[in-house]
Subunit: 226 residues, 2 copies
């Protein structure tokens, strides 16, 4: 897409929420915040009429997200033919416990991107994408690693999906019970959930003089201003 993308993402018939439209978010910055906080997406594609949904890593760079995989994988083989794809990223923020089963819910933020992926063939762009995957997980790690070899570059397929047709869906806040249930004698509210890291486990080969892992990686949510 040429030029500066619009700060809001146009709503299409395919991204318009059929239900609870107030949960829909089409603000580009909000969509990008969700994409930048997550790091596992679910990629949907169709082979012989059968949908497949595969979890995989990703990284956003500008107005695209990059996916990668072995050239031999079904996902990569399918997507490089220009198949329609749906990439969904979901962050789970809490259990919403209401006074009736019907009003139980979850707090979450999710993004859905529709489109066709482009196979990245340019070596420089491919290297930048690989750097983005690493930096998205652990900032500043790329420069400390054994450099990528040209053989590794060849064996990795990188796909780029433009963030053109996309939407986010967000639910937050307390349960919404029916007025007449508010006196029902059961605890109701939210149990916040978040993905947390625990003590890093060095492998058997880490040299004793090696700098420990930067603790910022241990506070993903906090680092991203949650």
């Amino acid at each position: 897409m040429a030029g500066i993308p619009s700060p809001s993402i146009p709503v299409t018939e395919r991204t318009r929420l059929k239900r609870l439209p107030k949960r829909g978010v089409f603000d580009r910055a909000a969509v990008y915040d969700i994409l930048d906080e997550g790091f596992v997406c679910h990629v949907g594609f169709v082979v012989d009429g059968q949908p497949f949904v595969i979890p995989t890593g990703y990284a956003r760079v500008g107005d695209e997200i990059y996916l990668h995989g072995s050239a031999a994988s079904r996902m990569v083989r399918s997507l490089t033919t220009g198949l329609d794809v749906c990439v969904t990223v979901t962050l789970v923020d809490g259990l919403v416990l209401a006074r009736s089963a019907f009003h139980h819910s979850m707090n979450y933020r999710s993004v859905m991107i529709l489109g066709q992926a482009r196979l990245v063939t340019d070596c420089e762009e491919k290297t930048e994408a690989l750097r983005a995957f690493t930096s998205h997980i652990v900032p500043d790690r790329w420069d400390t690693l054994r450099p990528v070899t040209s053989q590794e570059l060849l064996g990795t397929s990188v796909l780029a999906l433009p963030i053109e047709e996309a939407s986010a869906k967000v639910r937050s806040g307390p349960p919404v019970d029916d007025e007449e249930d508010l006196q029902w004698p059961v605890w109701a509210g939210v149990v916040p959930l978040s993905l947390q890291s625990s003590s890093p486990e060095p492998d058997a080969h880490v040299r004793p003089d090696t700098a420990p892992l930067d603790p910022r990686v241990l506070a993903r949510g906090a680092r991203r201003g949650k």
Copy 2:
């Protein structure tokens, strides 16, 4: 399906792993353990050739998983027509930080189920499914809630998907670096990740004499023997 299902799930051309077959798991008990620990799945289905991937709650009962939604939602409207569906559940267990970008990975356990969903119309089965959704999140909560009304039952669509064509994929353990990289001077190992709960936030209407939330809900992983 009549009779007792086999303890291993038959491998099909669609569930066989094309790459890294040692990550494939077709043991029914192992697949069910993953399904029982997760509570958000990603449902893939196709409308007009376009795949959609929607996050939603689920619960396993016996050899089926139940999904639910408003009868008006695109997902429910699509699946009730007997469309092919793929339901994927992914648990993220850790960041695998290697000495080269190429060998970075994630520890995870995921399950993919392929098939067609059945619309549950029997009121009793529907109620049991709703009970399963609630109990899957918070055991013993169902009996403390304001009972489900027949209007709520009517407004909720419940779908059942048999766990017949399914597979799990598991990666665990430390990074697998190239032998010649083992002396590279950078930290390498695993940063364990898990979904953790924090202090429950009661809503504005909880009566002061209400029993607090059973703390077992706060230790999901622990409760499930992780």
